[in-house]
Amino acid sequence: MSESFETSRRGFLGAAAAFGAVTLAPGVVLYARPADEPVTDKVRWGMLVDATQCDNECTACVDACNKEFGLAGHERPASDPQWIRKVKVTDRATGRSLSMPVMCQHCAHPPCLDVCPTGASFRRVDGIVLINRHICIGCRYCVMACPYKARSFVHEELTDQKPYAPRGKGTAEACTMCVHRVDEDRKPACVEACSSHNRVAMLFGDLNDPNSEISKRIAAVNTTQLRSEMRTDTGVRYQGL
């Protein structure tokens, strides 16, 4: 009797998970990966930023990231880490301005990974570029090499780090695409924060899945990769530039 109950409960949970994968994030079909299953290259996580929808005054994505990872500054803007920042871009000729978040672009061919002497910079097969803080020696070559100014070096002592985001003085760091959330089938904090606004400018999903909303949008509208001439094949795309 109890075995039958267990079986049926598992079946129910499985069905609920499958259902949840479709409905918990409307418009974004996430790949529901059990915790014991290795990361796969069948998915490539990416983001689409619609610069035409991004409000210049809004910093919800930056605030959410800072809160998620405890990125409290020391009132020293030049040396305080920033994982995501709002950049205002103005055309010299027309004066047209756009605002958009810029963070690690999670390149398929990341220059930071090429230059890292110890291999601390690495790319998961699902496209998320991370730093192994245990073997980062703090040489800052990755900070020099990143074409998007997306990496920071931790200049001072840190306290109260989040258990899902090891950080430490003397090492490099950058946006993790909220890998801890993604592995739990949740959206990155910045995207979630942006989604709660009237003008949604950020979309997260699987670039490899032609049926994902992000893939459909990229297929339908003109999008840009920052510094595309470098052929880093970024996981973050921009619309409206």
Binding site: R85, P117, C146
Partner: protein
């Protein structure tokens, strides 16, 4: 080595020798304290930040490494190219090369965010990284320099002299190529990413390395009467230093001309060449005028013949010029903003689109000076302990 020349240690039991030892030792010790201070507090106590992540310690470290490679000139000219007047100085050349390399690497290591992870750097390798390859080049350089001196000092292995000399010569060219490629491979910043970086660094290593050797040689001669260069050697070194300085100037000229020709790099070139304030001054006054034309004029003019003072002055000018250029390359290349949106006006909370500022702090100066102290300390101690210098009457013959 088949030369019958006698080599011996220097006399160290006098006040002057101890003063020199204490001066270099003190510099090295202070450098160590500065590194501890930076390590304890974090890099915010330096002038470095997330815009300029490599500061003065990197400038001096890279300069010492580049000069180390070039300091081996004298030994190579004597052994690989068979120029007899250089041979008496070959051991000192190897010693200085190794010492400068040790000083440069120590600064580089102590400026890491996690310098306690040296073992990680020595055991984890990513072979697409020129940094990782350079670790092999640098450690191999030490091995070859030691083997090189060994073949000079021990008749039992003298038959290895020529092969080791050729290997060391090739190795240091590869090493300096690797050092230049640290910047040459940086695709993200418009001041870097150029194949000309590698030959330019080689040219700079040849001129600055020889200049460093001349200063050390003349200093030892002034202090001890040893390491006395023959008139022929002095004449050759004078002309060679002028030629190598001109070659370095040529490569710098070619690099900037090529960059300026390209529209996408014209802004950064305009900044470095004309509008960059300190960087423009260091490039034109520091490197071009004081570090190139001035020493070339000193070395090739009729007044230079036989004058050790002018030779030392010219060498110091070449070193000052090389250091100025390194500052322009490393710091100037970083303060200029990364162009993520070319041609647009860009602003952000992270200093996008802004020329950054960098002011080295006292600990950085002290750490950098510590590298020079380590090099000086090694040279002094080894000259006491091992027969590196020819007996003076033989060297001058």
């Amino acid at each position: 080595m088949s030369s019958p020349m006698n080599f011996s240690t220097i006399e160290g039991r006098n006040v002057g020798a101890w003063v020199i030892l204490l001066a270099f030792g003190g510099l090295a010790g202070l450098g160590g304290l500065a590194a501890l201070y930076m390590e304890h507090n974090g890099h915010w106590v330096t002038g470095m930040n997330n815009q300029v992540v490599w500061g003065l310690p990197h400038v001096v470290a890279v300069f010492l490494i580049v000069a180390a490679s070039g300091a081996l000139n004298v030994a190579s000219i004597g052994s690989v190219f068979g120029k007899e007047p250089y041979k008496p100085m070959a051991r000192l050349s190897c010693l200085l090369a190794g010492a400068l390399m040790a000083g440069g690497l120590a600064v580089l290591l102590l400026d890491l965010g996690r310098s306690d992870r040296l073992m990680v750097a020595m055991t984890y390798y990513n072979f697409t990284s020129i940094f990782a390859l350079n670790i092999f080049f640098y450690s191999g350089f030490f091995s070859l320099v030691i083997a090189y001196v060994w073949t000079m000092m021990d008749d039992r292995v003298a038959f290895f002299y020529k092969p080791v000399a050729v290997a060391a010569f090739c190795w240091r060219l590869a090493l300096t190529t690797g050092t230049g490629s640290i910047f040459g491979f940086l695709i993200s910043r418009s001041a870097y990413h150029s194949a000309a970086m590698a030959p330019m660094f080689i040219a700079l290593s040849l001129s600055c390395g020889l200049a460093a050797f001349v200063i050390v040689m003349l200093f030892i001669e002034a202090c001890t009467g040893r390491a006395k260069p023959s008139p022929e050697l002095l004449r050759r070194m004078r002309v060679l230093l002028a030629v190598l300085t001109a070659v370095a100037l040529y490569f710098v000229f070619a690099l900037h001309l090529t960059n300026y020709y390209s529209a996408e790099r014209r802004d950064v070139e305009r900044f470095l060449l004309f509008d960059g304030g300190l960087f423009t001054t260091l490039l034109w006054l520091g490197f071009v005028c004081a570090g190139s034309f001035f020493p070339i004029g000193l070395l090739l003019g009729p007044w230079a013949k036989g004058s050790r003072l002018l030779m030392a002055l010219a060498s110091a000018a070449v070193l000052a010029g090389g250091l100025s250029l390194m500052y322009v390359i490393i710091i100037g290349g970083q303060v200029y903003p990364i162009e993520i949106f070319p041609g647009k006006i860009v602003t952000s909370s992270f200093f996008d689109g802004v020329v950054s500022t960098y002011m080295p702090s006292l600990p950085e100066f002290v750490l950098a000076a510590g590298g020079v102290g380590i090099a000086g300390l090694i040279v002094t101690v080894v000259l006491w302990a091992l027969p590196m210098l020819p007996d003076s009457h033989q060297a001058a013959e």
